[in-house]
Point group: C2
Chain length 79, copies 2
């Protein structure tokens, strides 16, 4: 078994209203110094050792992310 983390983020040129809402709210709430917030999704997968990197790439591109508006990273981590 292996643990795989996939982080999916809006592409830089895509607006991120959720992140912007947090960034704009923080000064009002008394927290200064945060200049940008972007929000995406974080997936943690438990996979058999038979699942290779090519398969993980297909899963991420096809089912975890929207390749039109999002970019993603895949990494294996220690469980």
């Amino acid at each position: 078994m292996a643990r795989v983390v996939v982080d999916v983020m809006p592409k830089p040129e895509i607006l991120d209203p959720q992140g912007q809402a947090v960034a704009r709210a923080l000064p009002r709430l008394g927290f200064s110094g945060v200049t940008e917030v972007r929000q995406g999704r974080h997936f943690e997968l438990e996979v058999d050792d038979t699942v290779d990197d090519e398969t993980l790439a297909k899963i991420a591109e096809g089912f975890l992310a929207n390749p039109v508006i999002e970019q993603w990273t895949i990494r294996r981590v220690e469980a």
Copy 2:
């Protein structure tokens, strides 16, 4: 300036219907070997160097996560 990543995940005892939906769909779609999927949120913050770890902890607990049902990690990364 520093880049800070906050990963927010449902606590282990909390059901995660979104992750379960992905995990159950994958075998139907031809991908076997993925035994669990959990979905959370991934935040990337750009912060001034004046923002200390205590402040980041307050921001994460108060505004990025729901401490009742979620757990989170905070880490500074190279920009």
